[in-house]
């Protein structure tokens, strides 16, 4: 077994009486791409948010490279530098240019050299096809462009793992592709990722492993070819059917 980046052990997360995550265990290995699917409201976002300590948890543990992730703890600032997270909504900082959005955290948090960071930022923008947007403000970008910048902003921190939470869900259909292509490219280059998505074709193409969640637990997991062709559980079958359009 290769090196684990993230270990989730019997994680429990409640919102009041609502047990949104009810005992989930799962590990992500270096270079692995895990796709998380499940019905809306089943706790996918919450799971990702627990991984970098945005949510307090009520039971179990999350560790990154063996270091515990503890909500509210000082150690979180270190942990979060190693976890890149991109959300569904456009969360670029509106008062900063694209370049400054990307450069802020490596300079302020990691205290890296400005010239080095700028060179790296421009290189990343080039890689996602946005070299000409370095000095634009987020308001001047399309949704797809914003999400590509958000990916760069996380990547520049050299994270151990990227968490992508439905990053194309708010996009117009014609922009979904340009963003997913960037993610596929990352996967090819060995970036460890946990991806929540409703794009099933993309999930199948990008995943090393698919995890189907429902009711706060992992209902089924497996290789994408296996899962999508031949789901074992009734709940997964029912869920996948909702994505096939039948008259």
């Amino acid at each position: 077994m290769s090196e684990h980046i993230i270990d989730i052990n019997n994680l429990v997360k409640h919102f009041g009486d609502n047990a949104v995550i009810d005992g989930i265990s799962l590990s992500v290995s270096k270079g692995e791409v895990v796709v998380l699917i499940g019905p809306s409201g089943c706790g996918k976002s919450t799971l990702l948010r627990c991984l970098n300590g945005l949510e307090p948890i009520q039971g179990g543990t999350v560790t990154l490279h063996g270091e515990p992730v503890i909500h509210g703890d000082k150690s979180l600032y270190k942990v979060r530098q190693k976890i890149g997270m991109v959300f569904q909504s456009y969360d670029l900082f509106p008062h900063l240019t694209v370049l400054k959005n990307i450069m802020l955290s490596p300079i302020k948090v990691q205290k890296r050299d400005k010239a080095e960071v700028e060179a790296k930022a421009r290189e990343l923008l080039e890689r996602v096809g946005l070299s000409d947007k370095a000095d634009s403000y987020p308001s001047e970008l399309s949704g797809g462009q914003k999400q590509r910048v958000a990916i760069c902003r996380s990547l520049i921190m050299d994270p151990e793992i990227m968490l992508l939470d439905e990053i194309t869900a708010a996009l117009d259909p014609e922009m979904v592709h340009e963003v997913l292509n960037v993610v596929l490219d990352l996967a090819k280059n060995g970036t460890t990722m946990m991806i929540v998505t409703h794009e099933m074709a993309f999930a199948e193409a990008v995943a090393d492993r698919v995890i189907f969640m429902d009711g706060g637990v992992i209902v089924e997991e497996g290789a994408p070819s296996e899962f999508f062709r031949n789901p074992k559980t009734e709940r997964a079958q029912r869920f996948l059917k909702t994505f096939t359009y039948t008259k």
Partner: protein, 225 residues
């Protein structure tokens, strides 16, 4: 005889300007205190504690419901009556305008923070920023950008409302104007129009650049967002 001459007779212009200075002084001091106290109040108002929230809300509503003039009377006459302490008109005015300005300012600050989407906080933290860094680099700059036009508008409202202080005996620009008009009632019956025109012009000189600035900033932000 032209009424306009009244403006330049004796030291009338100087008196008007010193009246204007009283207006500006009361406004500036009140606005200054309001900015400081209102920012603190606004920070408190964003608290999740329901008791704190309710107390702030009640304060704001009470301040808003009562006309400023009533507040001026309450503080100027009421405090003297109750405590025997004579505050003086100008101090009373500064107190009232600060109570009012801080409440409004607090509400603006609260609004400016609530207007910032939750994801701005979460993306900042996800990038490893500390809470302090998050506020300094991400939250405050956005809140302030949203706040500046509103603060300018509030300031112009406060400047204009200071005209009420003449009613508690403070000789600000409007009061001086009335005195000049009264003194020249018989020789220059149409002095009033010139004096008021001059006062109008003075208010205009102060408030117009402020509203222009506010408008320009609002526009810039709508364009740049």
């Amino acid at each position: 005889m032209q009424g306009i001459e009244v403006l330049f007779m004796g030291n009338n212009m100087l008196r008007l300007l010193s009246g204007l200075w009283v207006t500006i002084r009361i406004s500036l001091i009140s606005i200054g205190f309001s900015l400081i106290l209102g920012t603190l109040l606004g920070a408190v108002m964003t608290s999740k504690n329901p008791v704190v929230k309710a107390v702030c809300r009640v304060y704001l509503e009470i301040v808003r419901i009562m006309p400023q003039l009533v507040w001026l009377f309450v503080v100027f006459f009421g405090v003297t009556k109750l405590t025997g302490l004579n505050l003086g008109g100008e101090t009373s005015a500064v107190i009232v305008f600060t109570i009012w300005g801080a409440a409004e300012m607090g509400d603006l600050v609260r609004g400016a923070f609530l207007a910032i989407p939750r994801h701005q906080f979460e993306s900042s933290l996800s990038l490893g920023l500390s809470k302090t860094q998050m506020y300094v680099f991400i939250i405050f700059p956005q809140a302030i950008r949203g706040l500046i036009p509103n603060v300018i508008n509030l300031s112009t409202r406060m400047i204009k409302t200071t005209a009420l202080v003449s009613l508690i005996g403070v000789t600000e620009v409007l009061k001086v104007g009335k005195q000049i008009i009264d003194a020249n009632r018989f020789e220059y019956p149409n002095a009033a129009i010139w004096v008021y025109a001059a006062i109008f012009f003075m208010y205009f000189l102060i408030c117009f650049p402020l509203s222009m600035a506010s408008r320009a900033l609002t526009k810039k932000q709508q364009g740049g967002e």
